[in-house]
Structures are given as structure tokens and as C-alpha cells.
């Protein structure tokens, strides 16, 4: 029996009204097995990032359901503007989701160490020293822990972002074009590190990419167009 870690059904997300109305997700359904590497490809504006944001609890679908590790994320009991719901999603994100952005999105006022441990700190937990050491050595960040993001290269910043996403040992890693701002060499290294990480720590990776080479490395690839998903036979 397949161990489905994340399941999204009939997701719909519409932005704007009237003439500016855009349907980002059109009755889209998605699922992923635990420990798998799923690549999401598609043209620009197809709704890939919107899907990832909803799966990561950063946005709310207009309709549909999302379940992560058996816990129903959406629909919410009430509106997203409800303070309680927002708190619930925030706690969920920092415990269960590791998000990696294309633009790294490190917090500029915090050091590398602080960025990496931020999800744990926000949760009131202390980082496991051994695990922290393992992560930082894996991503070759041990000698840059007191540096600030502005003092790092793009590749280094993305490594920090990945390390951050793994630090809380989340069950699900969502990566939105993590190699989009990197050169080829760095891109390969990052993907390799991601794959190593998820295998070592038994995590599930859903990754958005335009790069067919990266998509080819995934266990499964899906294609988005006009807010709908279709499988790509590998």
C-alpha cells in the first residue's frame, strides 16, 4: 500500500475579479508518496507556485482539500483572516514543511546560523547540536555560520535555505525553482544535496523546475498547464 504523505483534491484558486480574473488552479488534484521526489514542471503562469504555496500552507485555496501526514490543512474552519487559523498554519509550517524559494529568501537581518535554526527557534525548540553540525557540514556552511546573507554568494545562500528547510526535520520539502538563480554547476550541486538530504532524513520532496535534466532526476514528474496537472510518463 502506498504511503501518501500529501494529498490535494479539487483545488481551485482564482485571483482578481472581472476582466482581471485569473484562474491559477482549476480543480487541480495532487498527491505524493512519502520519501519520493516529485518534479512539477509547466509553462510560466501555469499555477505551479500557487500549488506549492497552498500545499505549504502559505496560501488558502478557494475550494478543495489538502491533507498532509493525515492532518487536514484545508479547508479551514473559518476564513484565513481568522487569527487562530493563521497561527495554526504558521505552527504547521514550521513543524512539517520545509520551503525553499527561488530567490533564497533568507532573512537579511539574521546570521546563517540564525536563519538555519529560525523554524526551531520560532517553535521554542533548541536545535539538536549533532544534527545541526551534520547539516552544516553537509552543505559546507560550518565556517560561515556568523556571516549574514549579504556576505554570501548565491550558491551559498541557497545552501543556507536548504539547510533551513531541513533543520526542523519536516516531513515535506517544497522547493520552488531552487536552482532558478544559480549557474549550472551550482544547480547540479544543489539538486544533489537535496536528494542526499531527503534520502538521509527520509523526507519527501516536491520541486518545481523548468530544467528537464532536473525533472529527469525525479522519481515522478507532473506537468501543469492552465491550472491543471497531468502526469508525465518518465
Amino acid at each position: 500500500m502506498k504511503d501518501i504523505i500529501i494529498k490535494a483534491e479539487n483545488l481551485t484558486k482564482i485571483y482578481g475579479v472581472g476582466d482581471s480574473r485569473v484562474t491559477a488552479l482549476d480543480n487541480c488534484s495532487f498527491s505524493a508518496e512519502r520519501g519520493s521526489f516529485t518534479a512539477v514542471t509547466g509553462t510560466s503562469g501555469s499555477g505551479k507556485s500557487t500549488l506549492l504555496h497552498i500545499l505549504g500552507g502559505m496560501d488558502c485555496p478557494d475550494s478543495g482539500t489538502v491533507t498532509v501526514s493525515g492532518e487536514t490543512l484545508f479547508p479551514l474552519d473559518g476564513r484565513l483572516n481568522n487569527r487562530k487559523n493563521r497561527a495554526r498554519l504558521a505552527v504547521f509550517r514550521r513543524r512539517n514543511i520545509g520551503f525553499i524559494f527561488q530567490s533564497f529568501n533568507l532573512i537579511p537581518i539574521m546570521t546563517v546560523k540564525e536563519n538555519i535554526t529560525a523554524p526551531l527557534m520560532l517553535d521554542g525548540r533548541t536545535a539538536d547540536a549533532e544534527y545541526f553540525k551534520e547539516i552544516t557540514e553537509l552543505f559546507e556552511l560550518s565556517d560561515r555560520l556568523d556571516s549574514y546573507p549579504a556576505q554570501l554568494s548565491g550558491g551559498q545562500q541557497q545552501r543556507v535555505a536548504i539547510a533551513r528547510s531541513l533543520m526542523a526535520k519536516p516531513s515535506l520539502i517544497l522547493a520552488d525553482e531552487p536552482t532558478g538563480n544559480l549557474d549550472t554547476k551550482n544547480s547540479r550541486e544543489i539538486i544533489a544535496l537535496l536528494k542526499t538530504g531527503i534520502r538521509r532524513f527520509h523526507q519527501t520532496l516536491v520541486l518545481i523546475t523548468h530544467d528537464p535534466e532536473i525533472a529527469g532526476q525525479a522519481d515522478r514528474a507532473v506537468y501543469m498547464t492552465d491550472g491543471r496537472l497531468s502526469e508525465i510518463k518518465c
Binding site: 502559505m58 504558521a90 514550521r94 524559494f101 529568501n105 537579511p108 537581518i109 546570521t111 546560523k113 527557534m121
Partner: protein, 868 residues
């Protein structure tokens, strides 16, 4: 450049909030500058109008001129507007009675000019006493019409200075010429009767004849060496009211020069010497000061200008800080845009032009609004002051009209435009130094970034995680943090001190009132007078019926002319009403006009109020003869009562108190030992208590008519009203300025807070993405918002405490802690600091609420989808 101008307009539109804050800041700075300048000149103009209303629009009033001399002066080019008028000047009648050693009534006769007439009192004193009172009143009111017409039996009363009405039994008839010498009668102690002294021969034409019985006679000596009684009434004189054409620094000496060159002699005082053809003049000091002329006026103008300059500099400093802060906040965003422009070929000049144009455009919008606001504020203040009917009645004005000059508008406008231009230009120059590569890539690789040198020491503690965020934020935005803290501090401190200043003035008034009341008098006459002056004044006061003898208290005679040295261990020179430190017996040497070997009382009082002092010594130890000043000197040995010899902080005052009887006795002695004594003038304080309070106003008017030349009269009511008026004015001005400062401060704090939250939106979004909840976000934002306010409050408290201490030391003198505390009331300053801090916190909280709510209500994905 046209494109840069359009780009500047686009920035103004896009950064609407920043633009509005800059406009508001410039507007308020311009308004306050204009208001400050205008209020000073409105006050001066009001004083000028009040002076004109009360005393006339002339600078100098000359009286007692004959027609020829008056005409000479009135056509002089130095007087721009001259009014020549006919007047009857009547120098005060002087008749004094004293009781000699034999108990006889005797009289002094002085230059007694009634309508130009020299009057002597005939020997039948009792019969004439009634007439003296009548005549005294008539003479003081200055009108010959009040004298009975039956006095004149033939001819008419004199109409000019060369005519005389003479007693009918003198042997002369109307039309005759008579050569007479006018004499001043002085009592000769040796002979024990009055003898004539100075004389001046003059030819008079007899114009009328008078009855002997009802008339007052002068004793005139004719060249035949016989004296015979006659009465003369001289005609009226002329006066000039003139305005000086040129109120330069030397206008008074210019006036004297003019008069001398015109052949018109100038005397300080007609006074006693009616023999010389001199006349009275008086400067309209109030108007001269109000029109900023004369030494005192210039000194006052310098003081006001200095104070105004300080106020304007503070306004500009506050405004500049806010504007700088605002441009700094937008600089970060602009930096990347400038880099992008640079990457596509914009040069330095064009880059600087964008932000500079932005500043100029905002200034051009804000300045007219500020001028209008300033004008409205001054109008509102004038309306409020004008609605105080009591104040307007005192000023004799219907209303106060604001004074607006084109120069105020120009100064305020230049200030506003200049300030925003320099802020914008400075920011533009800083921005254009951006590295285009870094700007385009959205990050900096410079090593000179303001990172904290040491990491946050609690960075491994999850409970202190939010502290870590704030620690880093403060370091990285140090300049902004310091600038914001400084501007909030300046606003709060100015608010505190301006609202506190009326408290200090009110406390000063309390001291003044206590001193005024301490003497328990309704009026105080202060001035330099000789002994003659004083006794004559005293007699007139008692004869008026408004004052009894015991109501007239000539305490502190020759105030400030006493010097003393303490020759015991604690050697300290002190003056009359001086401090005495410690408590022990001491040898005190005192010299002064009044001292002889007669007993007198030394009053010792711990506090200022001498009226309640206790007599501590009555016998001088030795008489040291005549001092270097030509006055008798006495040495006293006094024992100062002290209940705590160990307390070295005791301070008291020693004063010399003399009763009226003592004064009479001493002056008699002094006349024998110091012949010039009665002639020599000394400063006197005479305290008067009205017998019947219902007659207060009448008594005041009476005193004004008999006041000796050079003396001034203060009445308690006027003094208190004057102080009250000044206090109300200060309070009103302070309130107006405080309100404007408060508006600036509120706008400043609001802007800083909103901008701070908005600028942190990026960080907050990223933190939300990794799981920060709303409450954690609010705690972080609260620290960032309130930290500058906390620092500003602490610094304001320290600055206020320092200011209060400085004020206490300066105003109170040697630090008597209790006295200083009573005067400065530091708890009131503290209350104001607390109010300012509480208000700042409230405004900051309100300002933070809206942008924070907007951030919280936005989705996390929207927060992370932003320009890096």
C-alpha cells in the same frame, strides 16, 4: 532633465505616504517659523498701539515753553510731526510746615508757581489753612478758574509771562511797568526765619489788581531794598508734542543739541528753580521702546531677536530631522532604482536631479500651505487674546491685529524650501554612489555593511529568538534608529520645556507677589529724592486725606547705600538686605546717610519679608566718623539669634529699620553734621497704605499728580495685574507653540513607526514563511516600534532633569535645595515627561497597528512574492 522631473513626480505619487509626511513636516516648520516671527512683531506693534492709545503718538513732550521757543522747536526738521499746544503748567505748590523747638508753627516757602505765580503764605496761618487746602487742590489741578473771581478787582489775570496781577494796595495801577526780583525763600536755621536767596530781575507789566485779604502774597524784593507783598498770576505756557524723524541711537542727545542750538535751554527738571527760563520735557519711553529706539529698547530687541533666533533654529532642527528621516527611509528603495538607471546609462547629474526635484516639488507644495497655516494660527491666537476683554481694556485696544510682513513670508518660505532642498540633495548625493551591479542584483557585497561586530549572545536560546531579531535590526538600521530617536527626543524635550515654562514663571510671580504683599502696602514710591523732596511729599500725602501719618512707611531709606563688613571669623562683605551665613555675634560696620549715634533698630529676618522681622539690636557700639563717601559711619555689634549653632546653612537678612520719628530726629542731626544732607538725593522707598480701600483709585490719581521728578509710583494692583497679564500672555504663547510642536511630534512619531513597519515588511514576510505566528510578529514589531520611544523618553528625562537643575542654580543662586525645589517644582517637569512619553507610546502603538494588521491579513505567499 525633463524626464528626471517626470520621474520625480512619479516617485512622489508612488511614495504617497512619504511625500505627505514630508509636506506636513515642511508645512509645520514654515507655519511655526512664520508664527514665531509674526507673534513677536505683533506683540511689538500691539505695545506700540497701546502706548499711542495711552500716552499719545509723540516721542517727546515739552512743556512750559513760551510761544517763541515753542515755535522755534516745532519747525525743526528733527521732529517729523509736531503739535504745538497751549497748556497751563502748574508746578506743584510747595508749602511746608514744621514745628520748631519752641512749638511754633513755621513755614518754608519755595518756588511756588501757581499759574506762574510765586506764592507766599501770610503770617495768619490758622485763618489761611482752609485756603491752603483749597488752593493746594486748585493749584494741583492747574486751573486758575478755580480761584475765586472776586480776587480780581481790576484788569485781568496775566496772559503771558511778562504780565503780573498785583495787590491793590501796592500803589501800582494797571499798565504800569515794575522791575522785580523773584526770590526763593529758604529757612535760615541761624536766624530762624526765611530769607530770600536767589533772585532774578525782570520787568513786568501790571495787568490786574487783586484784593489783599483773599490773595496769597509773594515777598519780592525790589531794587529799593524794601519788600512788599503782591500776587502775580502768570499766563499759560506752550507745549510741544513731537515725533523724532530719525530714531537713531543718539536721538536724545540730538534733541538736546537741537534745543541748545535753538537757543532754548534744556533742563532735566523745572523743579525748584523757577528763576531760570527752563522747561520741562519728558520722553514717551513706552512708545520709544515699542518702536525699538533708545538704548533699552535696542537691548530688548536684541534679547527678543536672540530668543526668536533660538526658537526658529529649534523649529528648523526638528523639521530638518524629520525631513531627513523621511528621505532616508525612501533612500533604500531608491538605491536599487538608481542602480538600474545607472545600468542603462543615467549619469550622476541626472540621478541627483531625480531626488532633488522631488524635494523641491514637495517644498513648493508645502510652503504655501505652511504660510497659510501660519497665518491662520496667528489670526486664531490674536482672536483668542482679543476676546479677553479685561486684557484689551488694560491695553486700551479694541482688538489685536496680526502683523504680517512680506519679509516673514520670504524668510519662512526660504526656510522651508531650503531645508527640504538640502535634505533631498544630501540624500540624492548619497544614493548616486550605489554600485549598479549590486543594485541590479539586489544585494550588497560591500564589506562596509553595518553588521553587528559580535553576534547576539543569546542566539542559541529559543526564548530569546525575537530579541536576536531586534538586536540585528537595531544594528543594521543604526542610522535610522539614531535619527528617529533623536527627532522624537527633540520633539518630546521641546514639548516638555515649553509646557513647563509657565510653571516657572508662575513660581516667579509667587515670589514677586509675596514680596509685594510682604510690605503690606498699596503703593510704593521709589526714586531719588532729597530730604526736602521727601518731607514735602509726605506732607502732601497726609494733607490729601487719603493717607494718615502712620500709613506712610519710609522704610529702607537709602536702600543699597549701606555697606557692611563682618569682622568676626566669618568675614564677609554684605550689603543692606544681605545674607548672613551662620550664627554668631559679629561686628558690623554700616555707613549711610541716616546713621548717627542715635539708636536705631536692626531687623533680622530669616526669610525675605522684612515686615515681620524682629529687632535684634538698638545701640551702636561706636561712631566712626565720616566715611569716604562723606557719610557718617557707625559700627554695630549684633548677635544674630540662632537655634542651631551647628547648622552652617543658616541664612538670614539684616536690615535697618527706622521709624518716622527716628528719621526726623536723624535728619535733624544730619543737617547739623552734613550740611548738604537735605540737598543730596538718595534713593528712597516709601510704602503707602490707603486709609480707605474705596478711595484706592482716587489716591492713585492724586499720587500721580504730586510725584517728584524722577520718582516712580507702583501700585500693587497694577503690578499684580501687569504680572498677571504677562503670565497670561506667556501661557497663551507657550500653549500655541506647544500645540504646534505636539503636532510635529505626533506626525514625526507616526511617520517613523509606519515607515519602520513597512520597511520591515520583507523580513516579517520571510519570518512568517518559516512559521512566525501573528503574536510573535506583534512582539517583534512592538520592540522595534517602542524602543526609540523608550530611549527618547529616558534621554528626555535626563535632559529635563539637567535643565531643571540648571534653572534652579541660576535662578535661585547658591543652592538652597529646599528653595530650589520650591521654585522649580521638578515634579511638574517630571509629570510632563511622563505625559509626553505616554502620548508618544500611544501614537506609536496606533501608528503600528494599521500596517501590522495589513501584514498579518495578507497571505504569506503574497509576503514572499516581493522585490528583493
Amino acid at each position: 532633465m525633463k524626464d528626471m522631473l517626470l520621474l520625480a513626480l512619479r516617485y512622489i505619487k508612488v511614495q504617497r505616504k512619504h511625500s505627505i509626511f514630508i509636506i506636513i513636516s515642511v508645512m509645520l516648520s514654515v507655519a511655526l517659523t512664520m508664527f514665531s516671527i509674526s507673534v513677536v512683531f505683533t506683540y511689538r506693534e500691539t505695545k506700540r498701539l497701546a502706548a499711542i492709545e495711552q500716552t499719545g503718538s509723540y516721542h517727546i513732550l515739552m512743556t512750559g515753553l513760551d510761544e517763541e521757543k515753542a515755535g522755534l522747536l516745532s519747525h525743526n526738521a528733527a521732529f517729523s510731526q509736531t503739535e504745538l499746544f497751549k497748556m497751563n503748567t502748574f508746578p506743584d505748590p510747595s508749602e511746608r510746615q514744621y514745628i520748631d523747638e519752641y512749638g511754633n508753627d513755621n513755614f518754608y516757602t519755595y518756588n511756588y508757581l501757581l499759574s506762574g505765580t510765586d506764592i507766599d503764605i501770610v503770617s495768619d496761618y490758622d485763618a489761611l489753612r482752609r485756603e491752603i487746602s483749597v488752593a493746594g487742590q486748585a493749584f494741583s489741578s492747574g486751573s486758575t478758574e478755580l480761584l475765586p473771581k472776586t480776587l480780581l478787582t481790576e484788569g485781568h489775570m496775566p496772559e503771558n509771562a511778562s504780565q503780573i496781577a498785583i495787590s491793590e494796595d501796592s500803589g501800582y495801577k494797571v499798565g504800569d511797568k515794575v522791575k522785580l526780583s523773584k526770590a526763593k525763600m529758604v529757612y535760615d536755621n541761624y536766624r530762624s526765619y526765611s530769607v530770600p536767596t536767589e533772585t532774578e530781575e525782570k520787568i513786568y507789566t501790571v495787568c490786574g489788581l487783586l484784593t489783599m485779604r483773599e490773595a496769597y502774597a509773594n515777598y519780592f524784593y525790589v531794587s529799593e531794598e524794601d519788600s512788599f507783598p503782591f500776587t502775580g498770576f502768570f499766563a499759560s505756557t506752550y507745549g510741544i508734542r513731537a515725533r523724532f524723524a530719525d530714531m537713531d541711537a543718539h536721538f536724545t542727545s540730538t534733541f538736546i543739541d537741537i534745543c541748545e542750538k535753538s537757543g532754548v535751554l534744556v533742563a532735566r527738571n523745572v523743579g525748584w528753580d523757577y528763576n531760570s527760563p527752563e522747561f520741562n520735557y519728558a520722553f514717551n519711553d513706552e512708545l520709544i521702546t515699542a518702536e525699538a529706539a533708545g538704548k533699552e529698547a535696542r537691548a530688548m530687541l536684541i534679547e527678543i531677536s536672540a530668543a526668536l533666533y533660538v526658537v526658529i533654529m529649534l523649529i528648523l532642527a526638528g523639521g530638518r530631522m524629520i525631513i531627513d528621516c523621511e528621505f532616508e527611509l525612501t533612500a533604500e528603495k531608491k538605491r536599487r532604482h538608481m542602480g538600474l538607471l545607472m545600468s542603462i546609462g543615467a549619469d550622476d547629474r541626472q540621478l541627483v536631479a531625480v531626488t532633488t526635484f522631488e524635494g523641491i516639488i514637495l517644498g513648493l507644495i508645502a510652503v504655501p500651505l505652511g504660510l497659510i497655516l501660519g497665518y491662520l494660527i496667528i489670526i486664531a491666537v490674536c482672536m483668542i487674546v482679543s476676546s479677553d476683554s479685561e486684557l484689551m481694556s488694560k491695553l486700551c485696544l479694541d482688538s489685536i491685529k496680526p502683523v504680517i510682513s512680506i519679509w516673514y513670508l520670504v524668510i519662512a518660505s526660504i526656510t522651508g524650501i531650503g531645508w527640504v532642498f538640502f535634505s533631498a540633495y544630501g540624500t540624492a548625493v548619497r544614493i548616486k554612489k550605489v554600485n549598479p551591479v549590486e543594485a541590479v542584483n539586489g544585494y550588497r557585497k560591500s564589506k562596509k555593511l553595518p553588521f553587528p561586530k559580535k553576534p547576539y549572545k543569546h542566539r542559541d536560546d529559543p526564548k530569546k529568538f525575537l530579541g536576536s531579531i531586534n538586536y540585528s535590526t537595531m544594528h543594521m538600521e543604526k542610522k535610522r534608529f539614531v535619527s528617529c530617536t533623536a527627532s522624537v527626543t527633540l520633539s518630546m524635550f521641546l514639548f516638555v520645556m515649553l509646557s513647563y515654562s509657565p510653571v516657572l514663571y508662575e513660581n516667579y510671580l509667587d515670589i514677586v507677589y509675596e514680596e509685594l504683599h510682604g510690605y503690606n502696602s498699596d503703593f510704593t514710591i521709589i526714586g531719588e529724592m532729597s530730604g526736602y523732596d521727601y518731607y514735602e511729599l509726605k506732607d502732601r500725602l497726609t494733607e490729601s486725606g487719603y493717607f494718615d501719618d502712620y500709613d506712610i512707611n519710609p522704610f529702607w531709606i537709602y536702600y543699597d547705600s549701606v555697606k557692611g563688613t563682618v569682622t568676626a571669623e566669618d568675614s564677609k562683605e554684605y550689603r543692606f538686605k544681605s545674607e548672613y551665613m551662620g550664627s554668631r555675634s559679629a561686628e558690623i560696620n554700616i555707613s549711610g546717610h541716616y546713621l548717627t549715634d542715635m539708636p536705631l533698630a536692626l531687623i533680622y529676618e530669616k526669610d525675605w519679608g522684612f515686615a515681620n522681622g524682629s529687632i535684634i539690636s538698638a545701640q551702636p557700639k561706636a561712631y566712626n566718623g565720616i566715611s569716604a563717601e562723606g557719610m557718617p559711619e557707625l559700627q554695630f555689634r549684633v548677635v544674630i539669634p540662632d537655634d542651631d549653632p551647628e547648622d552652617r546653612s543658616d541664612r538670614g537678612y539684616i536690615g535697618i529699620c527706622m521709624t518716622s520719628e527716628m528719621i526726623d530726629e536723624y535728619e535733624r542731626e544730619l543737617r547739623e553734621s552734613c550740611p548738604d544732607y537735605m540737598e543730596k538725593a538718595g534713593e528712597r522707598f516709601i510704602y503707602l497704605q490707603v486709609r480707605n480701600t474705596d478711595e484706592f483709585d482716587k489716591a492713585k490719581k492724586f499720587i500721580e499728580t504730586i510725584l517728584p521728578e524722577g520718582a516712580a509710583m507702583h501700585d500693587l494692583k497694577s503690578d499684580i495685574n501687569g504680572y498677571d497679564y504677562m503670565f497670561r500672555f506667556i501661557r497663551l504663547m507657550a500653549a500655541a507653540v506647544v500645540i504646534v510642536f505636539a503636532l510635529i511630534a505626533v506626525s514625526n512619531i507616526f511617520n517613523i513607526t509606519v515607515s519602520g513597519i513597512s520597511e520591515s515588511r520583507q523580513s516579517y514576510g520571510l519570518l512568517r514563511a518559516v512559521g512566525m505566528t501573528d503574536s510573535q510578529l506583534e512582539k517583534t514589531a512592538a520592540v522595534q516600534t517602542f524602543l526609540p520611544i523608550i530611549y527618547a523618553s529616558v534621554i528626555t528625562l535626563i535632559l529635563t532633569a539637567a535643565a531643571v537643575i540648571i534653572i534652579a542654580v541660576i535662578t535661585v543662586g547658591s543652592p538652597d535645595i529646599k528653595q530650589a525645589m520650591a521654585f522649580t517644582e521638578p515634579h511638574k517637569a517630571l509629570i510632563r515627561v511622563i505625559i509626553a512619553s505616554a502620548a508618544a507610546f500611544a501614537v506609536a502603538a496606533l501608528a503600528a497597528y494599521f500596517p501590522l494588521m495589513r501584514i498579518e491579513k495578507s497571505t504569506v505567499s503574497d509576503s514572499v512574492r516581493f522585490e528583493v
